[in-house]
Symmetry: C2
C-alpha cells in the first residue's frame, strides 16, 4: 500500500500535465468502441511523441502489453485513478459574468470527476438567478458551502479588481485549490494550490512565435539578397 502510494507520489509535473490529454484521447477511442491502442496511435491523438507517452505511462505502472498495446478501458481507469478522479470533486464558481456563465454551463464538469456545487456572485442583482439547476448565491454563503478539511476547488471568474479579495475569501473558507481565470496575478498562502488560465498570456505567447516567424522570414530574404 505504501509502495502503491509512493509510486503515485513521484509522478513528474510534466507528466501530470499531460495525463488529462491522454484521458481525453482515450475517451474518444471509447466512444468509437476501440478496445486496444498502441502508444504510437494514442500519442498521435494526444499530440505528443510515442516515447514521451510511454515514459509518462511508465510512471503510473506497467499497464501495457508488449507487442499489443494498451487496453483502452483499463488505461482510462488507471489514469483516472492516478489523477484522483475516482470520485467527484466539488467545485464552486465565483463570478457570474459572461465567463462565469460559460464555465457553469460547460458540460465538461459532470462527465469526469467534478461537480459544480455552487455559483456565487457579489452582485445582489444576480443573486437568485437560476443557471443550470443551481441558484446564484451571495458571497456570504461561502463559509456554509465549504467544509474545511474536505477538499474543494474554487474557480475565480470575476473581474481582475476583485480577484484577490475573492481568493482571500476562498482561502479563509477552507478552499485549498484555486483556478484563477481573472486577468491578474493573485497571492495565496503556502499550502494552497493555485493555477491560472489567461487569454492574454496565451495570445502573447502566440504573438511571440508569430514575430519569430516573420523575423526569420525577413532574415532569409536578407541572406538571399546578401
Amino acid at each position: 500500500m505504501s509502495v502503491d502510494q509512493a509510486a503515485k507520489r513521484d509522478i513528474p509535473d510534466a507528466t501530470v500535465a499531460r495525463l488529462p490529454g491522454y484521458l481525453r484521447a482515450l475517451g474518444q477511442l471509447t466512444v468509437q468502441d476501440v478496445l486496444s491502442v498502441s502508444s504510437e496511435e494514442l500519442a498521435h491523438s494526444a499530440g505528443v511523441s510515442s516515447a514521451k507517452l510511454r515514459k509518462d505511462l511508465s510512471h503510473l505502472g506497467s499497464y501495457g502489453v508488449r507487442g499489443v498495446g494498451y487496453d483502452v478501458a483499463h488505461l482510462t481507469y488507471q489514469i483516472s485513478r492516478a489523477l484522483g478522479l475516482t470520485h467527484d470533486w466539488p467545485v464552486v464558481i465565483v463570478g457570474m459574468g459572461n465567463l462565469g456563465r460559460a464555465l457553469a454551463s460547460y458540460g465538461g464538469f459532470a462527465t469526469k470527476g467534478f461537480k459544480v456545487v455552487a455559483l456565487l456572485d457579489r452582485d445582489p442583482q444576480l443573486v437568485g438567478e437560476r443557471l443550470d439547476e443551481l441558484t446564484v448565491q451571495p458571497m456570504g454563503e461561502l463559509v456554509s458551502l465549504v467544509t474545511p478539511g474536505e477538499a474543494c476547488i474554487g474557480v475565480i471568474a470575476t473581474p481582475a479588481a476583485s480577484a484577490q479579495d475573492v481568493a482571500d475569501l476562498l482561502v479563509a473558507a477552507g478552499v485549498s485549490s484555486i483556478l484563477n481565470f481573472a486577468a491578474t496575478a493573485i497571492q495565496v498562502p503556502e499550502g494552497v494550490h493555485m493555477r491560472k488560465v489567461d487569454l492574454s498570456t496565451e495570445l502573447q505567447i502566440l504573438a511571440f512565435h508569430e514575430q519569430q516567424r516573420s523575423a526569420s522570414v525577413a532574415d532569409e530574404l536578407l541572406e538571399g539578397a546578401g
Copy 2:
C-alpha cells in the same frame, strides 16, 4: 541588427511563457505611479523567484541598473518588444456561444497588442447579431478576412465536435496561430502554432495535487500510529 534579432531568437520557451506575467505586474506598478522596481519586488508580484526573474530578463538584454533596479516604463517597453506587441495583432474569434461572447467582450484584448477583427459563427441564427461594435459573420467570410502571409491569430470557441473542422478552415484561410478553447485535441499541419486552454485539464491537475495532499496526510497519520 542581425545580432539584435539573434538575441531575441534564443529566448527559452520557459522564459517566454513567463514574460506576460511580468508585463502584467509592471502594468499594475505603472498605474500606481511606481517608477522603479527591484527584481525582488517584481518577482514577488509575478509569483516567481527573483533569481528566475533576473535570468529571464537577462535573455532580453541588460536593462536594469545595479544597486537600483529596473525602470518600470523601459522594462515594460522592452518586454513588449520582445513579445512582438509593438503593433496590434488581428484576432478572429470563431464560435459565439457563451464562451465566445465572454472572450469577445473580454477587455484584455484592446489594452495590449491585440485587436479582434471578426466574430464568426456557423449558426445562421447568430449571424448578424452585434456584439461589442462587431457583427457576427458567417464562416464563409473567413477567407476574405484573413490575408495569407499577413499574420493573424484564430481563436476557437466552438463545441468540441466542430473544433477540428474550424481549425482546418482557419489553416486553409492562412491563419498560422491558433488558440483552442474547445475541449478536444486538434491536429494542425507543421508550421501552424497551436495552443490549448482547457478548463477540465486544469481542474484535473488541481485534483491530482489535492489527492496527493490527502494521501500524504493519511500517511502521516499512519506513521504517527505505527
